[in-house]
C-alpha cells in the first residue's frame, strides 16, 4: 500500500459528464503505488475565500501506467465548484491516499454494488479492479437515481458485470429507490457480499436489508472531515467499539460494527 503523501497533481483532463458532474484525471509527479478502491484524497482549494479546509473525494480510478488518479466530482458548493472549473494544465494540491478500501471477496462469490450519486465512484473503481485482477467474482451493480438524466456510468459497470438501475420517476430501470429493486428486495440472499456508497439514507436502507438476511455488507461513509488522516478526531461515527474515525478506521465500515 502507498504511504500518505502531499503532492501537486496536474490536471490532465477535466471532462464534464452532465450538468454538475465532472471527471478529473490528475497526473502525479511521484510513482503511484498500490491504492485500494474505497480510499480517498483530500484536496486543497485555494482559489475561494470560503474553503479553508481541504475537500475529500473518493478515488475513482488509478492508472498506474500513466501514473494518474481520477476523481468524479459533483459541483455542490464553492470547493467542488473551483475544482470542476480547474482548467487542464493547472495543479491541485492533494493529500493521498487516505482511509481503507473495501474488503475483497473470495473466489466465485457473487457481489452486489449499490451506488447512488457520486457514491458510484469508489464502487466503479472497485468493480474495475476486481475485473482487472481477473478474480472469478460475479459482479452485479445496482445504481439508483432520481431520473434517467442522473444515472451515470451504467456502461462502465456493464463492462464489469450485470447492471441494474432504479429511478424515482421510473424513467429508467425499476421505478422507485434502490431498495425497491428485486435484487435488494427479493434476491439479496443470493449474494455473498453487498457494498454500498451513496447518500446516507440509501446506505442505511441497504444495510437494513443486508442485516435482515445476514449478508456481509460494507458501506463507505462521508462524515465531515477536518484533517482526513486521523489527527483531529472530528469525523467520528459511533461503532460497537465506540467512536471511530471515518477517515482512518473507515471510510469503509462493515455494518456489523456500525450502530445503525
Amino acid at each position: 500500500m502507498m504511504n500518505k503523501t502531499v503532492q501537486n497533481l496536474r490536471v490532465l483532463s477535466n471532462i464534464q459528464l452532465n450538468r454538475d458532474h465532472h471527471l478529473l484525471e490528475l497526473q502525479a509527479p511521484v510513482k503511484l503505488e498500490q491504492i485500494a478502491p474505497g480510499q480517498f484524497v483530500n484536496v486543497r482549494v485555494e482559489k475561494s475565500q470560503s474553503t479553508f479546509l481541504r475537500r475529500p473525494f473518493s478515488i475513482y480510478g488509478v492508472d498506474y501506467e500513466k501514473n494518474t488518479i481520477s476523481l468524479f466530482i459533483k459541483d455542490v458548493g464553492p470547493g467542488s465548484h473551483v475544482l470542476t472549473s480547474t482548467p487542464e494544465g493547472e495543479e491541485v494540491d492533494v493529500v493521498f491516499p487516505l482511509g481503507n478500501g473495501f474488503s475483497y471477496p473470495e473466489e466465485n462469490e457473487r457481489i452486489l454494488l449499490v451506488g447512488g450519486g457520486f457514491g458510484i465512484a469508489p464502487l466503479l473503481f472497485f468493480a474495475r479492479e476486481l475485473k482487472k485482477r481477473n478474480l472469478d467474482v460475479h459482479i452485479h451493480a445496482l445504481v439508483g437515481a432520481r431520473t434517467s438524466d442522473d444515472l451515470m456510468e451504467l456502461n462502465s459497470f456493464a463492462q464489469c458485470g450485470e447492471v441494474y438501475s432504479t429511478t424515482e420517476d421510473g424513467s429508467h430501470g425499476v421505478k422507485g429507490r434502490v431498495t425497491d429493486h428485486p435484487a435488494l428486495k427479493d434476491r439479496l440472499q443470493k449474494f455473498d457480499r453487498v457494498y454500498s456508497c451513496g447518500p446516507e439514507p440509501m446506505m442505511e436502507a441497504v444495510a437494513a436489508k443486508a442485516a435482515a438476511v445476514d449478508v456481509f455488507c460494507e458501506v463507505s461513509l462521508e462524515n465531515t472531515m477536518a484533517c482526513g488522516f486521523g489527527v483531529c478526531l472530528c469525523c467520528v461515527t459511533d461503532t460497537t467499539s465506540g467512536h471511530q474515525c471515518v477517515c482512518t478506521d473507515g471510510p469503509v465500515f462493515n455494518i456489523k460494527d456500525l450502530k445503525w
Partner: protein
C-alpha cells in the same frame, strides 16, 4: 549559520516550532509526511485520568479562515496512554509533551502523577482552557482562584516542566497568566480555542452536536497575537504562542510579540507539511535578516 535553538525554562528545543495538542494525534499519524525529529517538540492529544468518548458527531465545522471543533477530549485515559502509546513515542529525539485535562483538581493531579513517571516525557501542558467539555476544562482557566488551585496542586506532584495552557475566553488573560506564574507554572502556552458557534441557515440547526465549540485557525490569529503581547508584558516565564499560525511569517510575528516558541495546530490539517515548512521558513527569515539566533526575535517588536 543561524541558531534555531530555544530554551523554554528547562526544556531545550532544537527550534521554536512545536505542534499543538489535539491537532497532531500522537504524532505517529504524521510520520508518513515528515520526520518528527525535525520539530522542536510536539504535544500529544488531550489526556485525562479516565477514558472519554468525547462528544457526538458532528464535531467540526468550517468557518471563514478557520474551523470549529467540539471533540471533547476523546482519549483512552492516561493509563492506556502510558502503557500503549508512550512506548511508541520513546524513540523520538525531540520534546514530547502530554496535554492534561480533568474535571476536578484531583483528576488533574492523578493524571500528572502518572505522567511524572514517564522518563521520556519532559513536561506536561496543563489544559485549563478546553471549551468543549461540560465540567472543568475551561472553567478552571477563566478565573484566577480556580486556575491557581489546579496549577498549585499539580505543581506539588509534578517535577518536570509545567506549561499551563490559557483560555482566551476571558476579560484579562494577563491576570490569569500572572496567577499561574505565581503558583509555579514554568511557562504558559496560549491561546486555546475561542468559544464560538456555527449555524446552518437552511436546516436552522447548529453545525456542532454541542451547539458551541472552539474556534481555531487564521481567523483567531489577530486575537492570539494580541494576547501573547499582553501576557509578555505581564509575566517573566516563557510564553509559547499559538493560534492560526500557517507559515513562518506568522510564527515570527508571535515571537516578535513575545513568544519564545510557537505551536502549529489547525495549519497541519490544511497542509500536513506546514510544521516543517515553518522550521525552514524561520531559518530563511533569520538568514535574510542577518539575525544570528532565533532568540533575538523574542519580544523584539519595534515600537
Amino acid at each position: 549559520m543561524v541558531d534555531l535553538g530555544v530554551k523554554i525554562g528547562n526544556l531545550d528545543l532544537k527550534n521554536p516550532v512545536m505542534t499543538a495538542s489535539g491537532t497532531f494525534g500522537y504524532g505517529l499519524e504524521f510520520e508518513d509526511f515528515f520526520d518528527l525529529n525535525r520539530l522542536g517538540g510536539f504535544v500529544v492529544k488531550g489526556t485525562t485520568l479516565h477514558a472519554r468518548q468525547g462528544n457526538p458527531y458532528p464535531r467540526s465545522a468550517e468557518t471563514p479562515s478557520g474551523m470549529l471543533n467540539a471533540v471533547g477530549l476523546q482519549n483512552r485515559g492516561v493509563k492506556y496512554f502510558a502503557e500503549n502509546i508512550y512506548p511508541r513515542l520513546e524513540k523520538f529525539q525531540t520534546n514530547v509533551l502530554v496535554n492534561v485535562s480533568g474535571s476536578t483538581v484531583e483528576e488533574y493531579v492523578e493524571c500528572a502523577e502518572v505522567i511524572n513517571e514517564l522518563e521520556h516525557i519532559p513536561g506536561i501542558e496543563l489544559n485549563i482552557s478546553c471549551p468543549n467539555v461540560k465540567e472543568g476544562g475551561m472553567t478552571f482557566g477563566t478565573s484566577c482562584p480556580s486556575a491557581e488551585a489546579v496549577v498549585r496542586a499539580v505543581r506539588k506532584v509534578y517535577d518536570k516542566h509545567l506549561m499551563v495552557k490559557l483560555s482566551p475566553n476571558v476579560t484579562s488573560i494577563e491576570e490569569i497568566a500572572r496567577a499561574v506564574e505565581n503558583v509555579g507554572a514554568d511557562s504558559v502556552s496560549l491561546i486555546n480555542t475561542l468559544l464560538a458557534m456555527a449555524i446552518d441557515a437552511e436546516s436552522r440547526k447548529p453545525l456542532l452536536s454541542t451547539i458551541t465549540g472552539g474556534l481555531s485557525g487564521p481567523a483567531v490569529k489577530p486575537v492570539a497575537l494580541r494576547m501573547v503581547w499582553q501576557v509578555a508584558q505581564a509575566v517573566k516565564i516563557p510564553i509559547v504562542g499559538m493560534g492560526g499560525i500557517m507559515n513562518a511569517a506568522d510564527a515570527v510575528e508571535f515571537m516578535l510579540a513575545g513568544a519564545s516558541a510557537i505551536q502549529v495546530g489547525t495549519a497541519g490539517f490544511v497542509d500536513p507539511l506546514a510544521p516543517v515548512k515553518i522550521v525552514e521558513g524561520i531559518e530563511d527569515y533569520l538568514k535574510r535578516h542577518k539575525i544570528e539566533s532565533v532568540t533575538d526575535l523574542v519580544g523584539s517588536l519595534q515600537l
